[in-house]
Symmetry: C2
Subunit: 199 residues, 2 copies
């Protein structure tokens, strides 16, 4: 990269740290940015800083929001007795896009992973347990269908069961809609078989 000036080299290396951005994309973005009008660049950088500084965790579900309580937790029309446990705010947004779920959420901000030394105390599990004060009737475990997500679901289930009278469910795992059985892995096929239902 010695062909670029230092400022440009720094910019490219900073941009290439962003997720999904390699050296080529970073270079393209850098040239785009230095050709933009200064006020547009200032708008971008101030938007990034404002977002970083003002976004915080919702006091109830811990999703990322800009007020003390997120719009979902603050909505009296939602069913506050059903809590869907997800790994990240993005996962919560994915379910919100579906538009059919009327309960509330709890964001764990991660999944347990012995390999990465992430245990129950490194995710927002205590905060979930403290919400189970009798008003919550069902906890839906919607962690990812990965090894870590499944392990997290099992662990959360044990903690929830220990609290007492709370129903604990896990979202279904199986063949995705539109999926061609020929190309689906064995574990998913087995899960689909195990999870078969009367029609």
């Amino acid at each position: 990269m010695e062909y670029f000036s230092d400022e440009l080299t720094n910019l490219i290396s900073e941009l290439s740290r962003l997720p999904g951005i390699g050296k080529k994309s970073a270079q393209r973005m850098a040239f785009y940015l230095i050709n933009l009008p200064v006020d547009r660049v200032e708008k971008l950088t101030s938007t990034i800083l404002d977002a970083r500084k003002n976004i915080r965790y919702c006091k109830t579900c811990l999703c990322l929001t800009d007020s003390e309580e997120c719009p979902i937790c603050g909505n009296p029309k939602r069913d506050h007795s059903t809590v869907m446990v997800v790994e990240s705010t993005q996962d919560m947004v994915a379910y919100e896009r579906v538009g059919q779920y009327n309960g509330v959420y709890h964001v764990l901000h991660g999944a347990i992973s012995p390999a990465l030394h992430i245990g129950p105390n490194d995710i927002k599990l205590k905060e979930l347990i403290s919400r189970l004060d009798g008003s919550v009737k069902e906890v839906i475990l919607a962690t990812n269908s990965s090894v870590e997500g499944e392990a997290t679901a099992m662990m959360v289930k044990n903690y929830v069961r220990a609290v007492g009278d709370v129903r604990c469910t896990r979202i279904a795992s199986g063949v995705p809609v539109g999926g061609d059985l020929e190309y689906i892995d064995e574990v998913t096929l087995l899960r689909a078989l195990e999870g078969r239902r009367e029609i």
Copy 2:
């Protein structure tokens, strides 16, 4: 996107204006950024602003650099009598990576395009002609091999020829190294045939 807070929505929409960044990537980058430590985010934004504010055109070749003259134009070991004309600083960097070219460059910052109303006065052509004061012996036209790049090369050639005693060459067009003839388009195959050389 109404599931996100305003700050986050703004951030995602700003990021998705970057080249090659769609909504999904912008969302991923936004979540990455708001989970970074504040000082890391400040470093990124100040790097972007510094680069935008300090990078300017080299007074001679007009490439993007952070000093009055770029390191290539300021290098007395380079052959200042050979000027390679390219469309962008990125193209110049591509040739610098090859490491075999010892002349200097001239960056046009674009190519003529009647469809987009980009004419000879919208690219840095005047600046090239003013460099042809007798010290330049050869102008190598290394604009892209696109319709616009070819048209630009033809036009620059006419301007250069009008100045007088300057050799004007065009980089070769043909089958790329490692290219399989079966999959190469007809125009390229024709160019490769027309450009054949004695071996």
